[in-house]
């Protein structure tokens, strides 16, 4: 039973949270053409590391905010909590961010903002 440090409410019991799975999956825009296989990378393929995992959580029974968590899937230790739209800061979590195969997928490139939309899309 984890204690998850909500960046807004502080440490709370796991039962107050919902887990949103792998973090940093950029959504390809429908207007940018990619193949079905590349789209499947976004839709279905998931990082599932044994060790440090960057994932999204929501404080569902608390402040309802989403945030990112770097958690070790073997020890269940929480290494870092950081806001949506940012990437991890510690050397070891940063490394797992950078080394993910997903950083270079076509799907990720297709997520780049289009002129018609305002602002950047970050996750």
């Amino acid at each position: 039973m984890l204690i998850i440090p909500c960046p807004y409410c502080g440490p709370r019991d796991e039962i107050e949270f919902a887990c949103g799975g792998e973090a940093h999956i950029a959504r390809p825009l429908a207007e940018n053409t990619i193949t079905d296989a590349e789209f499947a990378d976004y839709l279905f393929i998931r990082d599932n590391p044994k060790g440090i995992f960057l994932e999204r959580w929501r404080h569902s029974a608390g402040c309802r905010r989403w945030f990112n968590v770097a958690r070790d899937t073997v020890t269940h230790k929480i290494l870092e909590v950081y806001p949506m739209g940012s990437t991890p800061k510690k050397a070891i979590t940063k490394a797992s961010y950078a080394s993910s195969w997903r950083r270079n997928t076509v799907a990720e490139k297709a997520a780049k903002p289009d002129k018609r939309n305002k602002g950047g899309r970050v996750k």
């Binding site: 390809p28 429908a30 207007e31 269940h76 949506m84 899309r121 970050v122």
Partner: protein, 1013 residues
């Protein structure tokens, strides 16, 4: 023996006159196997039975061997009894942990017809044919007989019987608790650590599974602390802790689980020990504790020695014998053999001697020395060094032993066998630290070659191990550890403490090393001779272990599963190390290389009732009710569960069947007016300058141009293109929308949209607020709807010109401020009237009154379903199942071709989305207009084909439509739109076949003429 059996009833033959923890001024009467016995307050059932000379208390699992009391604590594998009767009976409880009370009723288990004569004992005689894993090798032929064999096996297996009446009469609680330091175990070490930790003000919880604190010390006669008997020190410590406001003492409380992030679960037995239990108190309470730091002070378990006949009643653990003498004033035997590989059992020998028993020590060690050896020798106890009990005999109680000299490590008999009569064997194979909680929390273990035990090494959670559970068997060493751990734990949670002084302990110095002697030889060839047990409860013998090793079940985990060692209710507390050692020996390997099996929650079996707590019955899961609920109930409505909501399903009038009632309701809505409680629909208030853009992205259609006060139907997809939810959304202002969702989908849709806003589109200026319960909704539907509203007193013009279909108006009805949506799920003229929830019931009753003259009819969800099906409207979750796209439903019209993106858009162009054999929504007309095809029935083209059949798909909605005067159905069929006009067949479960024509799924008023009344 004879002296005991002739003793008069009720006479506590084995009771001795010693200072101990029972209260002789409070006699207690209890029943065991139909006989009444006496004991005293402070006795356990085990001590009281022993006091009465009762040793035979149970039968073993497999061989039905007579079994007695082995231990004095929660590690007990044998003495499992059924406590109580009727609804309050409970199987498999350890007699060693039951505090007796007046009227206690206990029975032995797993025997037919009686404990003394059990027919199941034939298994023991035939034991040779039932070695470990025998069932994998037999009962294979004929194959058809297995279920019969199995039936017999099942009835032979199992231990106790459940309560006679299955409804538990007791109440259970559970609660959360937070502390700085949780101390698990309140022996000497735990008490000291708790006091140290609490002395700086930290919040401390101290839990011990026993009725009093003090642990092992409660059973020691020869230890004084600060020149007082140890029990005085315990009393002083306990009082001191009890007086501290920052300390919570939890006796009778087992810490049974130790999980991630210092989350621990405790089971407190609140009233189990009382003969009269106050009804307002829970029988047990589960504590869910979050601790900053944990100090584990669980103590240690003594190991049996593995020799032939070591399971006969009267063969006990030496430490337990000492506890029975000193703590309970019971001397379990008069002619005792003490067998050991360590110094500790000498204390038992001395206490037995003092209690008046004749004692012989068989010490496996060749040259024991030291003060305890001297002391035993000095009081005149016979000591055979380098000797082992190689076999014990006796039927219902040990009567005789064979003792022989053995070599180093006791692998061979090296001299003459001696025979001795006896009525008690006290054995000690050394101590195994209770590393359970530490291991549950993923701490590591290391093997201690001197003490022959696993002890904790690195911890995984913020915790400390102290005292005997840390392998520190010396009391002073344990107390020093306690002070250190208490100080550190307090400091780690931010409390400074000054180190307490460790008290002066006076006791004979003892060597805590044990000599390795895992399997005592018995003079027979390998595999032969009487059985020597390793796991008493599951009847695993040393031969079973070597057999498993021989057959290749060499991993300790395979050994466990093949032989069932350690899988009983004691989880191998007394047997696991012996099993490992014998396996290691058989494989020529070292114990640490073999490793242990995994320690798992719970430490001791924990009541399921207490884990469920009050989350049962009405509190199992909330029921959500609308504000009109009382009215529906008074009107006799039947209800349907929709998610957590209870919705009025239909309103049967006297003697009406469901069918009748629904037909009446459906007809009323089409001929005059019906009223539906639609309050459960999800409602979301959407505000912000990007609200329309946001809707563009979450819905498939376009929203920019929707006028203020106008409503639009929207379909929401998941990003895989599958339909997720639908509903009508209304523009309240330039930047303000009111969205409705399905009842079951409400929470999910809000979460879903929040997720997109927060994670994908944080740049959008949109805020969402749930207003589901803010508004009560009554849907008035039917040709007379407008008339009734007018008669109810409405302050707006209801003409279609002023208030057209798919628009919204603010108005007052009967003075109540309302938002009225002219939308329709029935195809009739229809108004969804939203009022502040406080007025929901008033609105409802007011409309019912106003419409009475027109025969306004309340209708439930079933009629609503029929009405919408007549119109071919879908219900998400009924027509759809997570694998349906808008195209499948023939709803391409709702998909914007111009929007660059919306959730699900890209997925809709995947290869398989265009396949012509996808299931399409179609209508069905059964050839027999009276027959309603069952929902879920599957269509085929050829009903005569062999199984498995090629199926087209399933009927999703099917009703008798009183307005069409016939049955109608909707279905999802493969390539369904191409089947228009064709007949398809429905093989029924009873073998008959129905047939129906595929038609357009709009059955009533296809032109939509009725929408304006």
């Amino acid at each position: 023996m004879s002296r005991l059996s002739k003793a008069p009833m009720g006479h506590q033959i084995a009771r001795i006159d010693a200072k101990c923890r029972i209260d002789r001024s409070v006699p207690v009467t209890f029943t065991f196997d139909g006989r009444t016995y006496n004991g005293f307050a402070g006795d356990t059932l085990a001590s009281a039975l022993l006091a009465n000379g009762v040793h035979l208390v149970g039968r073993s699992f497999k061989y039905h061997r007579p079994r007695g009391i082995l231990s004095a604590g929660s590690e007990e594998p044998n003495a499992l009894i059924r406590l109580g009767k009727g609804a309050g009976a409970e199987p498999n409880i350890r007699a060693t942990q039951i505090e007796i009370f007046d009227g206690l009723y206990a029975e032995s288990q797993n025997r037919t017809p009686s404990l003394k004569f059990d027919v199941g004992a034939i298994n023991s005689v035939l034991g040779r044919f039932f070695p470990a894993g025998f069932y994998y090798k037999t009962f294979m032929w004929p194959a058809s007989m297995w279920m019969r064999y199995e039936h017999v096996i099942r009835h032979a297996a199992g231990l106790g019987k459940v309560a006679d009446d299955h409804t538990d009469p007791d109440r259970y609680e559970k609660t959360h608790a937070h502390c700085d330091i949780l101390v698990a175990g309140g022996g000497a070490a735990g008490l000291m650590a708790a006091l140290q930790a609490a002395s700086g003000g930290a919040r401390v919880i101290l839990a011990d599974e026993q009725n009093e604190f003090g642990g092992w010390l409660l059973g020691e006669a020869n230890i004084s602390i600060d020149e007082q008997p140890a029990t005085s020190w315990i009393g002083k410590m306990t009082n001191q802790l009890a007086a501290m406001p920052n300390v919570k003492l939890l006796p009778r409380t087992t810490v049974f689980g130790y999980m991630d992030h210092n989350f621990l679960t405790l089971n407190e037995r609140v009233t189990d020990h009382l003969s009269k239990r106050p009804a307002h108190l829970p029988r047990q309470r589960m504590w869910k504790v979050r601790a900053q730091q944990v100090i584990i002070a669980q103590g240690a378990h003594e190991r049996p020695l593995v020799f032939a006949g070591n399971d006969i009643p009267g063969v006990m653990l030496a430490g337990a014998v000492r506890t029975y003498i000193n703590r309970y004033g019971v001397c379990p035997g008069q002619r005792a053999i003490v067998m050991c590989n360590n110094d500790d059992a000498y204390k038992t020998a001395i206490d037995l001697h003092r209690a008046g028993a004749r004692v012989l020590i068989a010490d496996l060690r060749a040259q024991p020395t030291g003060p305890l050896f001297q002391a035993a020798h000095n009081v005149g106890i016979d000591i055979l060094v380098g000797h082992a009990v190689i076999a014990a005999y006796g039927t219902h109680r040990v009567a005789r032993v064979e003792i022989a000299p053995v070599n180093h490590n006791a692998t061979a008999i090296i001299g003459e066998v001696i025979h001795r009569d006896c009525d008690l064997v006290a054995m000690s194979g050394g101590l195994s630290p209770a590393v359970h909680l530490h291991s549950q929390a993923r701490g590591n273990l290391q093997w201690d070659e001197g003490k022959l035990c696993f002890r904790p090494s690195a911890t995984h959670e913020p915790s400390f191990n102290i005292g005997a559970c840390n392998g520190s068997f010396d009391l002073v060493a344990g107390l020093k550890e306690a002070v250190r751990a208490g100080t550190k734990a307090a400091a780690a949670s931010g409390f400074k403490t000054a180190s307490l002084t460790v008290p002066d302990v006076t006791t004979a110095k003892q060597n805590w090393r044990s000599a390795a002697a895992w399997k005592i030889p018995n003079g027979h060839l390998a595999g032969r001779g009487p059985k020597a047990f390793v796991d008493f409860q599951n009847d695993v013998t040393s031969n079973d272990i070597t057999l498993a090793a021989r057959e290749g079940y060499q991993s300790v985990e395979h050994l466990k599963r093949y032989t069932t060692t350690g899988m009983g209710t004691d989880q191998g507390k007394t047997s696991n190390i012996n099993a490992l050692a014998i396996l290691a020996d058989a494989l020529g390997n070292e114990i640490p290389e073999i490793g242990t099996t995994t320690f798992r929650m719970p430490y001791t079996p924990s009541n399921i009732g207490a884990i469920a707590g009050r989350d049962i019955g009405a509190l199992f899961d909330p029921v959500r009710l609308t504000r009109m609920d009382d009215w529906h109930r008074a009107a006799g409505a039947k209800f349907e569960h929709v998610g957590q909501w209870m919705r009025a399903w239909y309103y049967p009038e006297e003697s009406e069947t469901m069918h009748d009632a629904v037909n009446r309701e459906v007809r009323a809505a089409r001929t005059s007016a019906g009223l539906l409680d639609a309050s459960t629909l999800g409602k979301i208030d959407i505000q912000g300058s990007d609200a329309a853009e946001f809707l563009n992205r979450v819905y498939t259609n376009a929203w920019n141009k929707l006028g203020i006060g106008k409503c639009r139907y929207g379909l929401m997809l998941k990003d895989d293109g599958m339909i997720m939810d639908d509903g009508v959304t209304t523009r309240l202002g330039e930047n303000h929308f009111h969205m409705t969702t399905t009842t079951g989908g409400a929470a999910g849709v809000l979460d879903w949209m929040e997720e997109w806003l927060q994670t994908e589109w944080p740049d959008l200026e949109v805020y969402l607020t749930s207003v589901t319960e803010q508004w009560s909704v009554a849907t008035l539907s039917g040709p007379n709807a407008a008339k009734i509203l007018e008669e109810a007193g409405i302050d707006i013009d209801l003409s279609s010109a002023n208030f057209p279909f798919m628009s919204m108006k603010h108005a007052h009805i009967g003075g109540l401020p309302a938002r009225i949506f002219r939308i329709s799920f029935t195809g009739e003229l229809s108004y969804e009237i939203n009022v502040a929830a406080r007025h929901g019931l008033a609105l409802w009753t007011h409309l019912m009154k106003a419409g009475a003259a027109h025969g306004i009819t309340p209708y439930g969800t079933e009629a609503m379903h029929v009405l919408r099906a007549e119109k071919g409207f879908i219900i998400v979750g009924q027509e759809t199942d997570g694998s349906v796209t808008p195209h499948d439903l023939g709803m391409d019209w709702i998909i914007s071709k111009t929007k660059p993106d919306f959730i699900g858009k890209r997925a809709l162009s995947r290869e398989s989305m265009g396949y012509s054999d996808r299931k399409h929504l179609i209508g069905l007309l059964c050839s027999d207009p009276k027959t309603v095809i069952p929902e879920g029935a599957h269509a085929v083209i050829d009903p005569d084909q062999p199984l498995p059949m090629d199926m087209l798909g399933q009927v999703t909605s099917s009703y008798f439509s009183p307005n069409c005067g016939r049955s109608i159905a909707m279905a999802m069929l493969k390539g369904g739109r191409a089947l228009m006009g064709q007949t398809v067949y429905f093989p029924m479960l009873d073998g008959t076949v129905l047939d129906a024509k595929v038609v357009n799924p709009i059955f009533y008023d296809p032109k939509g003429a009725r929408i304006d009344g």
